[in-house]
């Protein structure tokens, strides 16, 4: 089960993601992000405070969204990346490819 709540805060779209991001549910994350990008969003800030689990399929969705934003000079920032999700981002060195912040406010302020 994956829960996503999105809000447009002007400089960015903030997506609050909770639950489990596995091979089945991670598609919803990518679809939601691509939907915002198609509507012109350049900067996505993903609040992962409620994320309990992410598998390699979930990781690949983060990567795909970041790749889609790169040619548009956009960004995909991560907030509250903790626990096992943070560990898998570190193991795969994906953490080096994303701006990571302690809070949504800090991520939005950096834009």
């Amino acid at each position: 089960m994956l829960e996503i709540q999105a809000s447009d805060v002007g400089k960015a779209v903030v997506l609050r993601v909770g639950g489990r991001m596995d091979a089945e549910t991670s598609v919803e994350f990518e679809t939601t992000c691509v939907g915002w990008i198609d509507r012109g969003a350049k900067h996505l800030v993903v609040d992962l405070a409620g994320l309990q689990y992410v598998s390699s399929m979930g990781l690949s969705k983060f990567l795909a969204v970041a790749k889609a934003l790169q040619p548009k000079s956009g960004s995909l920032s991560l907030c509250h990346l903790e626990g096992v999700p943070r560990q898998v981002f570190e193991m795969t060195r994906l953490i080096q490819l994303f701006p990571v912040f302690d809070s949504v406010e800090a991520a939005v302020a950096s834009l």
């Binding site: 596995d22 091979a23 089945e24 309990q52 689990y53 598998s55 390699s56 399929m57 990781l59 690949s60 990567l63 795909a64 970041a66 790749k67 790169q70 626990g83 096992v84 898998v88 193991m91 795969t92 060195r93 490819l97």
Partner: protein, 147 residues
């Protein structure tokens, strides 16, 4: 270990992932693993299960996958996953290059790396016409793991 070995046979389809998680969760609880260790175990199983569901059988042919586990002692879980598809050892895949930039980084290839990193031992066998992959998990040091 055989007397305590529990197994389930499922259709090798991606929509069976939830059933697979539920079955493994029983083993995680019996091994007295906490939330973080249970999540790492799910990660291992998902990678292996999805590999079978997507690649073991030709398109259009529905096959089966057997998942089994045993708890040799609290804080240790032995997991085995097997299929009757074409012979394939996923551990033979070449290592992923994680040093690449965002633009050059491929989307795939992280699953097997995570398995090799997280599992405490991994073994592949081709036995009596089936792929048999097994691993042991002993809990992560410094986590909320085995008590």
């Amino acid at each position: 270990m055989d007397s305590d070995f529990r197994r389930i046979t499922l259709p090798a389809r991606t929509d069976q992932l939830g059933a697979c998680f539920a079955f493994l969760n029983e083993g995680s609880k019996l091994a007295q693993f906490g939330i973080e260790d249970a999540a790492r175990l799910d990660l291992l199983l998902e990678e292996l299960f999805m590999n079978v569901a997507r690649h073991a059988y030709p398109p259009g042919q529905e096959g089966s996958v057997e998942v089994g586990w045993a708890v040799p002692r609290p804080g240790e879980l032995y997991v085995q996953i097997s299929d009757w598809g074409s012979r394939f050892n996923p551990l033979d895949r070449s290592p992923h290059d994680f040093s690449k930039s965002l633009a050059e980084r491929p989307l795939g290839g992280m699953g097997i790396f995570l398995i090799k990193t997280i599992a405490d031992s991994l073994e592949y066998q081709w036995k009596e016409g089936r792929n048999l992959l097994s691993f042991r998990y002993l809990g992560a040091k410094g986590s909320d793991g085995a008590s």
